[in-house]
Symmetry: C2
Subunit: 423 residues, 2 copies
């Protein structure tokens, strides 16, 4: 079995390499046509996709998977339509490939610049949401890459149906169907095999929970673009505008709970705490948010039923839930030290009207997004203008923060000469 898996992976890999060579040269019109075809086919074959999804749902229920997982797995007319619209949006984005930047003459007479090119073969490992099959394939396609998709085993029928639509759409546009390949097996050995395929795969992007991502990061021989925790902070400075501070804190925590750019810890300057914390606490209580506060926070919000003392562990927890840790600090440096110690380098914000404090925070806080007077919830590919997002990277190399089409590309140097030789 292991031998078979390895041989099959090599076959998939070789097919992906060949498709990647064609995709690298594919023109913008053909790539856009493939994306539009895919949207059309998804809508046309909706009944078949929903029938395939019903098989997955029935199996999930038989296996007593929990309700949240079944909901993530579920497709319906609206969700298939959203996939189709997502592909049309990707078609409408500018093509990053072939763009030449900063072509400049050098004293030797040569012109030197950069051309943006695809990464090559991208492996995507994801969990139960079947829409990732369309989204990830669409982004890889537009950026001129070949994709090898490995979805959750509980979504295998849905993923198979969606991948078939993507492959037909490629062929109809004159592009190789193997630019999108689904690993059509539920055996977990395949993940290990994909992670060892450094001869065929240029980068792996895992999308899912922490345990998946840690496994991928630990085992992969292929470079990984990954997202770990989002322990995001908002620091309300002594010089904060109180209205902005309250609005940002409430939005950053309570706009959505299960997202990586939600605030998990609020830091408040001791000179501002009495002015803003009671109002923030009141608004969060209305929304059913529990507060875990430091000693000063608890003293200030005494007798409030939703407030409890924080433990050391709270500062290091990504709740992804209606819970907020709150700490009163004696100044900007203590706030930045707290973020450096407990933060995850995802997104952190300061609220202040003070020029020096804001500038220092922007420079010193070493996170993928650093914000001044804005809600952490803005850390998102669409809000940043990328037009699409395959994930948010908490890595430092290659790409950091929200990853759009450009993160799926690299650059090569180009040199234009007129017969120049090195002296």
């Amino acid at each position: 079995m292991t031998h078979d898996t390895a041989a099959l992976m090599q076959k998939l890999g070789a097919q992906a390499r060949e498709a990647a060579a064609a995709m690298r040269m594919a023109d913008t019109r053909a790539k856009n046509r493939a994306l539009q075809n895919a949207a059309t086919i998804l809508r046309r074959d909706m009944d078949e996709i929903l029938a395939a999804n019903a098989l997955d749902i029935r199996a999930a229920e038989a296996n007593r998977l929990d309700a949240a997982l079944v909901d993530r797995l579920l497709l319906n007319g609206d969700r298939v339509e959203a996939m189709a619209e997502g592909l049309e949006q990707i078609a409408a984005l500018a093509d990053p490939i072939g763009a030449i930047d900063e072509l400049r003459y050098r004293p030797s007479g040569i012109q030197v610049g950069h051309m943006r090119v695809p990464l090559g073969v991208i492996g995507i490992i994801y969990e139960s949401r079947p829409n990732v099959t369309a989204d990830a394939a669409g982004l890889c396609l537009k950026s001129g890459n070949a994709a090898i998709l490995r979805g959750g085993s509980e979504a295998i029928h849905s993923n198979r149906a969606i991948a078939a639509c993507m492959r037909r759409a490629l062929v109809d546009a004159g592009l190789p169907q193997d630019a999108v390949q689904l690993i059509d097996a539920t055996d977990r050995a395949w993940v290990g095999e994909l992670l060892r395929s450094d001869d065929y795969v240029d980068v792996i992007i895992p999308r899912g929970g922490r345990s998946l991502i840690e496994r991928v990061a630990a085992e992969s021989r292929v470079p990984v673009i990954k997202h770990l925790d989002g322990i995001c902070h908002v620091y309300i400075d002594a010089a904060a505008d109180a209205d902005k501070a309250v609005a940002i804190a409430v939005n950053a925590k309570a706009h959505r709970y299960g997202v990586c750019n939600a605030m998990e810890t609020l830091l408040v300057h001791e000179r501002k705490a009495a002015r803003v914390l009671p109002e923030i606490s009141r608004q969060l209580a209305e929304k059913g948010v529990e507060i875990r506060g430091c000693e000063q926070t608890c003293a200030l919000l005494v007798d409030e039923a939703h407030v409890r003392p924080a433990s050391e562990e709270d500062w290091a927890t990504e709740y992804l839930a209606p819970i907020l840790a709150v700490r009163v600090v004696d100044g900007l440096q203590t706030a930045m030290d707290h973020i450096a110690r407990y933060g995850s380098g995802h997104t952190d914000a300061i609220v202040t009207e003070d020029y020096h404090a804001g500038q220092l925070f922007l420079r010193e806080v070493d996170s993928s997004s650093v914000m001044w007077n804005a809600s952490t919830r803005f850390a998102d590919g669409f809000e940043y203008g990328l037009g699409a997002e395959i994930g948010i990277s908490t890595d430092r190399l290659h790409v950091r923060g929200p990853v759009g089409l450009e993160g799926l590309t690299t650059q090569k140097w180009i040199v234009l000469g007129n017969g120049e030789v090195r002296q």
Copy 2:
């Protein structure tokens, strides 16, 4: 011993992390002063450095190391002066850190842009040349990083003396001396320990021969920026200007032999071969270059003493020597297929006056540098205008081709708002 190594590595790593936090915030003036101080101290302490180097040379001769290695190890007044000048050149470069690019308003009202920031802690693993200690430390310093240096054991006395100069120069500029740390031990276990230090080190840059780099790539848990082979090609198209073709081919091969951007294989269109190959052969013969030709090449250059038949292995060999493989091809596509099959993705050039052929070659050839009518020898950080070079990356992610200061940095997103919240 292994336990000790691990504990000491953790100590070095923690010191580097702390120094990196300070270097990240260091202003341009302090960093430049440290570089200038280092140049001054290297010149002032030249006698001590040369005395330390003499110990290494004596040990190398006692161990009967080969003459080429002893030459790489040797320092003299000129070589120390060159190190000092190199540091002054780095001081004169623009500081990449803190630069904000493309700060743009979004429809939500926030401004979104990128700020360039250091990578953090950079591990450099190198072999016998002691000047790397100054060069690599200088580039890491200017780009706001902390460096952990692991030089060749045969250069330990020289490296220790040079690193001491760099550390004194940092302190004199008010910066932490631990921004430059030398692993002051010759035990090979240290390399493994450094490669496992993913908690403390953000990237490893190996500089040296293929076996070192392969070991680092295979073992490292830290991301690696690496350089493998340079099997560079020049393709002389049917529409090439013959004079340019001859000049470029001779320069690409014979300007220097032991460098990664030297041409190793010449591909010539069959309609141009009779026009250019005899002259190229004549000029290369004068320089003592041996030709290993395909059948058509040998037929064309019959009776020439420096011409032999090529074997399959020749197409895949980085000679780094006065040897050139030559193949006559039936057209552009065959040339590009040859490059895709045997090339190493380093640097490849076409010589042609034909617009379509040149454009196609630029787009399709997937190498870190692709050139049109210029010698492959231009693939170099100084020639490209980077002002300095820590190496040439044949990786695809993060940085590709010549790596200067910018390759030692990353970006974070910055968001400036006025109290905006997500709707």
